[in-house]
């Protein structure tokens, strides 16, 4: 299992419509973490039509890039809620009592924690620090 990496990018809060039509420069994974909020991993610049949008650099999130097998072995048994079946898909909720995000791609799963809870993720799930 690979060591975690810091997920650099942008966090954007804006109107849902403006987020639907936002453009992000770079090789970006866009996670719609709320109707009015996006975590754009890898983004360095965002273009939005909303003049009041809040666009801030984000560096708090840490990600473990897991194979599907690693996810099943380490994480899945701690998930109380139904996992999404479509791909790609974002899921968020408590896992082993920790608020975490999951980004499902076809053959990988990105387990995402805020920086301050990494030690709990390591302790409770047994993933590498």
């Amino acid at each position: 299992m690979r060591a975690p990496e810091r997920l650099w990018g942008l966090r954007v809060v804006s109107t849902p419509d403006a987020l639907d039509h936002a453009f992000y420069e770079g090789d970006v994974v866009v996670l719609r973490i709320a109707s009015d909020e996006v975590l754009a991993i890898g983004a360095v610049h965002a273009e939005l039509t909303d003049p009041h949008a809040i666009v801030e650099p984000e560096s708090t999130f840490i990600g473990w890039d897991l194979t599907l097998q690693e996810f099943e072995q380490v994480v899945a048994r701690h998930v109380e809620w139904p996992l999404p079946t479509g791909r790609p898909a974002l899921a968020q909720g408590l896992i082993a009592g920790i608020p975490l995000k999951l980004w499902f791609e076809h053959d990988r799963v990105l387990l995402i924690s805020s920086n301050g809870l990494v030690h709990e993720v390591v302790d409770r799930l047994g993933v590498p620090a």
Binding site: T60, G116, E120
Partner: protein
């Protein structure tokens, strides 16, 4: 084939349960009481292989099993081998949880359960059937619905769209004089024992409605006495009953439209005769006389009787006593009585089983956690975070702030960015102070009130532009404050964007008379003046620098991306080496702010603290047209105030926080915060007086203390503004 009962070997026949084998050996799994052998009561429970309260009727006998009967009086001894580590990581628990998501979970594999499962399958739904005979002990049904099941190897959490409870009905147990003798069976138990070839000796069969009492000799039933006065000698008494008791405990645990009960478990049965004598709750050893006693004391509701007498709180959770208790309460109250509420767990669990995959709330670490630990900090939990309490010598830290320069990790503060065309309107409504007149680049201290005018948090409002602000909140109140702001903005329908930056930004407070000098060394040519803020670069790190003061000295909070926290911290520590820079922990911070009379929400305040009660009316502008809490404050302003937070001073060492405050012999309040202040040369305190008229002189810790108006240090605030 043998197992061990207490210290004696017991022979058993292949297929016997432990309880059947014990009865076959002429013993009782406990010291007496009716046996049903269906798991409905607790009368056969014993310690099996170190697990107490195990139902032996559901435990297959096997070689080498060690069964210990519980004491006749009192609880079985607590098993502490291996020692329990209550703070061990849940990941270390031996019992794991497996989870399954299904359309329908059917609890009970009897006639009605099988029918319900077949119907669901016919409708194309995925069905899971759970039954004790299949090894599934359902211990609880929760909203969701969620069914928690104990299995031999693990716990199972079943998330179902629908739960069908088809647990059937149980035989009634007798409640009368002598009902805790050995040798009493329900009719079903007698049948089971006979089918296993157990010799019951001379049997007397009696219907429940005809039963008066059991007579016994040396703890074993010797005769059945009927209500007509007739007596029938016997070795074994078998009790029959036309009525039954629905096994509806699981159904009574949850009020969820997706949980339904079918079959006998859902039926209403005729109640048994009103009990007049004997043990009504064998599990908790509660007699009818006990129940009458609590009834006579005024606990005249079935829920109250349960709590006062503990009837129904034992192993079987009312499985035996419920119909009899309902008959009792119905008789005494004259009104039909519904069953009491059911609560998990319906089956006894080990601590490991109960704790399986149960997690404590996680406590966050700041990005500087490792720096603190490396500096020898004693870390402790405050407001949802691990924070340094001190670095070994909190007075050294105190003096570093007062006389030199110090760093404090305030990354834990709540931080919101708010923006939008309606943002000023939203903040004017949220806060009791004026917002519109804050100029960009300036900030203001604010209180956050609820609708009752009670203080729920405090912090700073920093204006960045006409339509963008940064709000800060206390560490412990950040989550509530964020939800509070979002809820009100949504309620008012205002056009405001909100971004929570609490976990994204670190914050370091550079404080002390040399703080400005330290920042200049790191490239900040002109640090902001008091209550100003601006974006700048410090040691190559982009920072939002806020000039304020909680310590009473010049203070600069450097908010920055947490990825650069360590870099910034080390640069500040390095640059301040010749200034004898020393980080400070919470212990010093609490003392420093107390000298300034700054309150800490939740520590000095109470749930109903208004600004007036804590002496902070100055932070409320009642001439504003509206803000959350204004109506309540206007109303209570006309009323006399019966409690207030005061500053106190007294000679000698500070009393402990929480110490009672006396006027004469009367306790009028307590000390909320205290510190033996070197600056003031005496003990300084914040404390509550809750009796009027408020006294100017009180007694604390046996010494005289005097009301004194804070701040106790630098009352003009010159040092903070320097």
């Amino acid at each position: 084939m043998r197992f061990v009962l207490d210290d004696r070997a017991v022979d058993y026949v292949d297929g016997d349960s432990v309880a059947v084998a014990v009865v076959r050996a002429g013993q009782h799994p406990q010291h007496g009481g009716t046996l049903c052998l269906t798991g409905d009561c607790g009368n056969c429970s014993a310690d099996v292989d170190g697990v107490p309260f195990t139902r032996t009727c559901l435990t297959p006998a096997r070689p080498g099993l060690r069964v210990h009967r519980h004491p006749a009086v009192g609880a079985p001894p607590l098993q502490l081998d291996p020692p329990v580590n209550p703070v061990a990581s849940p990941a270390q628990h031996e019992v794991q949880v497996r989870r399954i998501h299904v359309d329908v979970a059917v609890i009970g594999a009897g006639t009605s359960g099988t029918r319900a499962a077949d119907e669901a399958r016919s409708a194309g739904r995925e069905v899971l059937v759970l039954d004790g005979l299949l090894g599934d002990d359902v211990v609880g049904v929760y909203p969701g619905p969620l069914v928690v099941v104990r299995r031999a190897a693990h716990m199972l959490h079943v998330h179902a769209h629908e739960v069908v409870i088809a647990t059937g009905a149980a035989e009634l147990h007798p409640v009368c004089d002598g009902n805790m003798l050995r040798g009493i069976l329900t009719a079903g138990a007698a049948d089971r024992l006979r089918s296993r070839g157990v010799d019951l000796g001379t049997v007397a069969t009696v219907d429940l409605v005809d039963l008066d009492r059991f007579d016994g000799v040396e703890g074993r039933v010797a005769a059945v006495v009927r209500r007509d006065g007739s007596s029938e000698p016997c070795d074994t008494a078998v009790v029959t009953a036309a009525s039954r008791a629905p096994r509806d405990l699981l159904a009574r645990m949850v009020d969820d439209p997706h949980v339904r009960t079918v079959g006998p478990a859902s039926e209403r049965y005729e109640l048994p005769p009103v009990p007049t004598d004997g043990f009504i709750c064998p599990c908790s050893k509660i007699t009818v006389e006990d129940v009458q006693g609590v009834w006579d004391k005024g606990f005249q509701h079935i829920e109250l009787v349960k709590r006062a007498a503990l009837c129904g709180t034992g192993t079987c959770q009312g499985g035996v006593c419920m119909p009899h208790l309902r008959a009792f309460v119905t008789d005494r109250s004259g009104a039909p009585t519904a069953p009491f509420t059911g609560r998990p767990a319906s089956r006894q669990l080990t601590i490991a089983e109960a704790a399986a995959d149960v997690h404590l709330d996680p406590f966050r670490r700041t990005a500087l956690h490792g720096e603190h630990v490396a500096l020898g900090a004693r870390m402790d939990r405050f407001g949802g975070w691990w924070r340094p309490w001190n670095y070994g010598d909190f007075m050294r830290e105190y003096w570093a702030v007062r006389e030199g320069v110090s760093l404090g990790d305030v990354s834990t503060l709540g931080k919101l960015i708010v923006s939008g065309p309606d943002v000023v309107e939203a903040l004017e409504r949220l806060y009791p102070t004026t917002i519109a007149d804050i100029r960009p680049g300036r900030s203001r201290y604010v209180l956050l009130l609820n609708e009752r005018g009670h203080l729920i948090d405090d912090g700073m409002v920093c204006r960045e532009s006409d339509d963008r602000f940064v709000l800060t909140f206390t560490s412990g109140g950040a989550a509530l404050a964020e939800a509070w702001v979002r809820d009100w903005v949504e309620t008012w329908g205002l056009d405001v964007r909100i971004m929570d930056r609490t976990v994204s930004l670190g914050a370091i407070n550079v404080t002390g008379p040399l703080a400005g000098d330290l920042l200049r060394r790191l490239g900040v040519e002109e640090p902001p003046k008091f209550l100003q803020h601006r974006h700048t670069t410090v040691a190559g790190v982009d920072c939002h620098m806020m000039r304020l003061s909680f310590t009473g000295e010049a203070s600069f909070e450097l908010h920055h991306p947490i990825a650069h926290s360590v870099q910034l911290w080390r640069a500040l520590m390095h640059a301040g080496r010749d200034m004898n820079i020393t980080p400070h922990g919470l212990q010093a911070l609490f003392a420093l702010r107390l000298e300034k009379g700054h309150v800490i929400v939740g520590m000095d305040t109470e749930l109903d603290s208004t600004p007036r009660r804590i002496g902070m009316d100055w932070a409320v502008k009642m001439d504003k047209p509206d803000f959350v809490g204004r109506t309540s404050l206007a109303r209570v302003a006309e009323l006399p105030d019966r409690r207030r937070l005061f500053g106190f001073t007294m000679d000698g060492p500070a009393p402990v926080e929480g110490a009672p405050i006396y006027v004469g012999d009367t306790i009028v309040g307590h000390v909320a915060s205290s510190f033996t202040s070197p600056a003031a040369g005496k003990a300084v305190m914040l404390g509550w007086q809750k009796h009027t008229p408020f006294a100017d002189t009180v007694t604390i810790d046996g010494r005289t203390a005097t009301v004194a108006q804070p701040p106790f240090y630098d009352p003009e605030g010159a040092r903070a503004r320097a």
